[in-house]
């Protein structure tokens, strides 16, 4: 056991004489640490927990006079439209698959990018490229949709112009459902890779330089360096980010899908997610209850998944689990 673990064990094993005062003793002993957590705890109490009981609204026929808890109870009626639409399975499947692609591909690319950034030695090159890689994150999705249309449309799009110049036939991209998972994933990666690689880059910066030098002394080459030092040290970060993302596995990126696909029903089979479909269905309805109902559906799913995944990770290595 290394020194750290031994120290921890020692601290944890010290038992005060009486069981009754144990909790108070713990609070007293760790009072500074506890105090350091107080602002965050208050924050979440106020902004996240306090409104939570209001999600009861999903089970009522809400009206303003009676408020959330006074409005008549209607059971699961507000969830019905999801089932009646006949789309629930398709939407769930699409939402999850896209998110999985975003998470897996996204993280892999972010790690690769962080590793490569680490290799860049020219200072100005590094600064400029990193600043540039941030740009996509700032561009509003509305504009992304406009640019995408400009590039991909049949009549005036740059892509088709290029294809024609090289002697091919222009493609009707906006009518080809199969192309869109690729397009959407690419756009998402474009927007988020630069931004997300920062986390991994910072983690690489935190690796003890002595390890690298020891490895160099021992004659390890670049690939071994990556495989045996960098990747393992990024593992905890990766797992935590992964676990975190799982909680939101059922929540789609509305802005991205809505602005790229919009109302183009030809593409819905391949691109419709829960948020966009629900938006179309209840847009004109002024309906707060249904949207909360959908939110609950998404949350429950993510919750179950995360509890499961965290439990598994916990068994493998306690340290990597979220809680």
């Amino acid at each position: 056991m290394t020194g750290i673990d031994a120290a921890t064990e020692k601290v944890a094993r010290v038992k005060p004489p009486h069981r009754k005062g144990r909790a108070w003793r713990q609070i007293r002993d760790s009072r500074v640490l506890l105090l350091m957590c107080v602002p965050a705890v208050i924050f979440f109490l106020v902004f996240s927990y306090a409104p939570l009981p209001g999600s009861w609204i999903a089970f009522t026929n809400f009206n303003y006079r009676d408020g959330i808890f006074g409005s008549p109870f209607v059971g699961f009626k507000n969830f019905e439209f999801l089932i009646k639409s006949g789309q629930l399975w398709l939407l769930t499947r699409n939402t999850i698959l896209y998110n999985l692609a975003f998470i897996v591909l996204g993280n892999i690319l972010q790690i690769a990018l962080a590793i490569m950034l680490n290799e860049i030695r020219m200072k100005y090159f590094k600064k400029i490229t990193q600043a540039v890689m941030f740009l996509p994150y700032f561009i509003s999705v509305v504009l992304v949709g406009v640019i995408a249309f400009n590039l991909l449309n049949y009549d005036t799009g740059a892509l088709n112009a290029l294809i024609e110049q090289t002697g091919g036939d222009p493609i009707k991209i906006y009518s080809t459902a199969g192309a869109w998972p690729i397009i959407i994933i690419l756009v998402h990666l474009w927007q988020s890779t630069g931004y997300g690689s920062i986390v991994y880059f910072a983690a690489i910066m935190g690796i003890d330089r002595g390890l690298f030098e020891a490895a160099a002394i021992d004659g390890a080459n670049a690939w071994q360096r990556i495989r045996y030092i960098i990747l393992p040290s990024l593992k905890p970060t990766f797992i935590i980010l992964l676990l975190f993302s799982l909680g939101g596995i059922m929540r789609g990126n509305f802005g991205l899908f809505w602005n790229l696909v919009g109302n183009n029903a030809a593409l819905f089979q391949a691109t419709d997610i829960i948020e966009t479909s629900v938006y179309r269905m209840i847009l004109a309805q002024n309906n707060f209850t249904s949207s909360t109902a959908v939110g609950l559906y998404q949350s429950l799913f993510g919750f179950a998944l995360v509890m499961l995944a965290n439990g598994i990770v916990r068994r493998i290595n306690k340290d990597y689990a979220l809680f």
Binding site: T2, I4, T8, V11, A12, S30, L33, C37, P39, V41, F43, F47, P51, G54, I68, M116, L117, F125, T129, Q130, V132, F134, Y137, F138, I139, S140, L143, V146, I147, A158, W190, T193, Y195, V199, F201, A202, M205, G206, I207, D208, G210, L211, E213, A216, D218, A220, N221, A222, W223, Y228, I229, P232, S233, P236, I240, G248, F288, T289, S291, F323
Partner: protein
């Protein structure tokens, strides 16, 4: 960083001494690596990796920059040209028309910038303090409540109340409708950032904490004087994300501020410009409104440039904190 996590044999033979004083003095945050530059011979694999890295990073940077170049050039183009032939890499019919429209009411733009910058600076500072405190406490293995509080914080990402209850609570019950606080407070921290910070804490060896305790320092002093200085990359990362969160935000502004404040946060102000045209076009509402000069495509592009420009310059400043904080020493594990 536990040596047991690393599989290479070499590390087992390598030992490291970590002393408090050495660590504290070397992390001076000046952007220089303070370990003496080693003349390590680079072999072929290093060159290959480096070449691949340079090429890939350049390509990716181009990939990222390209759409922005389109936006930039469109912002300097004339609307009629764009209508006919779409976007291009170079401006078509060079004109400052779109920018002059945006800056026609300079007071609004300047006010928006001021509001956003103020919120970003103060929000980032306060948020960073709270997040790092919390992350530090939650990482301490000897803190009995760490798992309970971690779960408490994390749970909020799983369930959310939804639009109506949250709005009622914040706008009505807390009385924050029309106040910048409604936006400012809600962005101070997120569970993700706290957990990220907690994760970064593992780069600070426990020996530091131990030696601090041996010296009789309280938990907060250990945090403030010993751990924090070693966490520059972490602080920079979280600080950057916080700042970006404030800079980019428009949704909370549209919900809680709307037209009640004179100066809208920057992105919301620009979102208004971009979306007014769409909103009017697609609804019956348009019947009542006179459509004389609606924002055009070039205007949307110019708005994007105005909103993005400044923050891109933030990263180069922050970049110098992304240096390794831990150095090498001799052995005794």
């Amino acid at each position: 960083m536990h040596s047991s996590d690393v599989g290479i044999r070499a590390t087992d033979k390598t030992a490291r001494i970590v002393t408090v004083t050495e660590l504290v003095t070397t992390a001076d945050g000046k952007g220089r690596r303070n370990n003496p530059p080693r003349r390590i011979k680079l072999d072929r694999s290093d060159w290959t990796l480096r070449t691949i890295s340079y090429i890939t990073v350049s390509l990716f940077a181009l990939f990222c920059a390209l759409p922005f170049v389109l936006i930039l050039s469109a912002s300097f183009s004339s609307e009629s040209e764009i209508m006919k032939t779409g976007f291009g890499l170079l401006p078509k019919g060079f004109t400052f028309e779109a920018y002059s429209y945006i800056f026609k009411a300079p007071r609004q733009i300047i006010g928006s910038y001021a509001v956003t910058i103020l919120m970003t600076v103060f929000g980032t500072a306060i948020g960073l303090l709270v997040i790092s405190m919390t992350g530090y406490a939650l990482f301490r293995q000897d803190f009995p409540f760490r798992n309970g509080i971690s779960f408490f914080i994390y749970f909020t990402t799983l369930f959310s109340a939804g639009l109506a209850p949250t709005y009622l609570w914040i706008a009505r019950d807390l009385g924050l409708r029309g106040s910048y606080l409604a936006v400012f407070l809600q962005l101070l921290m997120t569970p993700w950032l706290i957990i990220l910070m907690k994760n970064f804490m593992r780069t600070v060896p426990y020996e530091i904490v131990e030696s601090g305790k041996v010296d009789g320092a309280g938990d907060f002093r250990i945090f403030w004087q010993l751990s924090l200085p070693m966490m520059k990359p972490a602080l920079a990362t979280v600080g950057l994300f916080l700042a970006l969160g404030y800079w980019n935000e428009w949704y909370l502004s549209s919900l809680y501020l709307g037209s009640t404040v004179e100066f809208k946060p920057l992105q919301y102000h620009l979102y208004n410009i971009i979306n007014t045209a769409n909103a009017l076009k697609n609804s019956v509402a348009g019947s009542n409104v006179s459509w004389t000069e609606l924002p055009s495509n070039t205007l949307k592009m110019a708005s994007a440039v105005v909103a993005t420009g400044p923050i891109v310059l933030l990263y180069p400043f922050v970049q110098k904190y992304f240096v390794s904080g831990i150095t090498v020493g001799a052995v005794k594990g």
